[in-house]
């Protein structure tokens, strides 16, 4: 079954296809062909979009958008990966193909700063009145933000050295 799927998909799109283990396939695709690929694969039986994730590769200067698709009839899971630019993160929405993508794209827009064209509901989801950088990027430091805004309990000198010594493998 994996062979037929591989021949069928490689005829229509330019992808790199790899079988990781049974029931898991990894496909890497270019960003211009991602949404047409989703429309085609939905007609082949992959009707369930499990999640959309985003990974921040800061040294390369790219964001990677990952789609997780599951087929109830064939029992195969596809991990579909595409990369977009980090300085100017724009992409298209998948909510015309899978309506559930609207919530996941709203989450990625808030946490990473990616703008999905066509998604009408990119309003704040979890954070309220947030005015700093998007927090899940790799160059946002949560400890600095926490020390600036929230004070913590002050212990005496002796207790502080004892606690710090016992946690020496934390930076």
């Amino acid at each position: 079954m994996y062979e037929e799927l591989k021949i069928d998909l490689e005829n229509k799109f330019s992808i790199s296809f790899e079988v990781m283990r049974e029931r898991r396939i990894k496909i890497i695709i270019d960003k211009k062909q991602a949404i047409p690929f989703l429309s085609y694969i939905k007609s082949k039986g992959f009707i369930h979009l499990t999640a959309i994730s985003c990974v921040d590769w800061i040294e390369e200067g790219k964001f990677e958008i990952v789609y997780h698709l599951w087929s109830y009839s064939n029992k195969i899971h596809i991990i579909l990966k595409t990369k977009i630019d980090r300085k100017n993160p724009l992409f298209e929405t998948a909510s015309f193909v899978y309506p559930v993508a609207q919530t996941f794209e709203r989450d990625i827009h808030e946490m990473f700063g990616v703008d999905f064209k066509g998604n009408k509901r990119q309003i704040p989801f979890i954070l309220e009145d947030w005015d700093a950088a998007p927090p899940m990027r790799k160059d946002f430091d949560p400890v600095n933000y926490s020390k600036e805004h929230f004070e913590t309990e002050q212990y005496t000198e002796e207790i502080e050295t004892k606690v710090r010594k016992s946690q020496r493998f934390r930076e």
Binding site: R24, T50, S53, K75, T103, F125, I126, P135, P142, F169
Partner: protein, 365 residues
Amino acid sequence: MKEFEYYIGPQHLGVSGNFGIIVKVDGDTIVEARANPGYLHRAFEKLMERRYFVSNISLICRVCVFDPDPQEAAYCMAVEEIANIEIPERAKWIRTMILELSRISSHLIYLGSLTSTLGLYTVMQWAITDRDYILDLLEMITGGRVYHIFMQPGGVRRDLPEGFNTAAKNVINKLKSRLTDYYNIIFNSNIFINRMKGVGILTPDYAISTGVTGPNLRACGYKIDVRRDDPYLVYPKLDFDIPVLHNGDMYDRALLRMKEIEQSIAILEQILDKMPEGSVWNPVPNPLKWEVPKGECFSRVESARGELGYYMVSNGTNKPYRVHVKGPSITHGILVLEEILKGQRLADISPILFSLDVCPPSIDR
């Protein structure tokens, strides 16, 4: 008539946990609803990138408060798949037993909370007391009542204590004898039949297109379960049934969870009879210095509310590079809730919210 806007906020008896809903009302009928999550956001995915692989297990059991064990199981399965580790047979059976105990305790809280929004407070007293006997069993194995931190990559932490089999059989017999009382008071009573049938209907096409999973999807007529479709641990060797109902309203969702409690009790009896002997942990390298090889994977587990998935990326160091937690309630609590509430009455908001079994900490992470 004029339209009013109401804020059903976090401090309310009719909301499960710390969650908010904003509704626009015309008279007594709801015109538009909007979900307002975010009160429990602790930034788990950012914190997990700053801790070692083994230290993360004490964090992730707090993602879903009502059944914390599927989170540990999915995380450990993800790490074991990237690092290519096998776990011994007895550890798989112990993990399955803990997952089924956690499923029964979560469904008992569901029954107690749903009926207390409709006015019957007796079932809540019964259900939380029965759940306490299961928590006593879990305390005997792991040492903690609510958060267990018992599974780790390579197996489980320690073996079962002596006298566990007799204690477990006592608890199972006690639970079996209580089930007829629950059936009589909830499902055979005219008040609940009139109040719950035909309310909050979820049609099958809408359910599939919006990504509904778990018991909510099985109450619409689809026989879909991760334990059968994408098997993990010891489920291929066990003999259990998957109950399915067809109407998709509140009554069917509640009755389905009652039947799942019976199936889980049957699974527990099989596990206690067939568990093999052996070791419970395969050694892994020193956890403070263990460098997991590069790779990524997606692991999937059936929790009490639906399908739970972990996407993990590792880049060769001793801390994970990216972990994405996808809980089952992120589809139930936002889009499905806003669609079902249109046209319902004000008094039905909190029964519908509880019958979809929304767990707010797993939306906010």
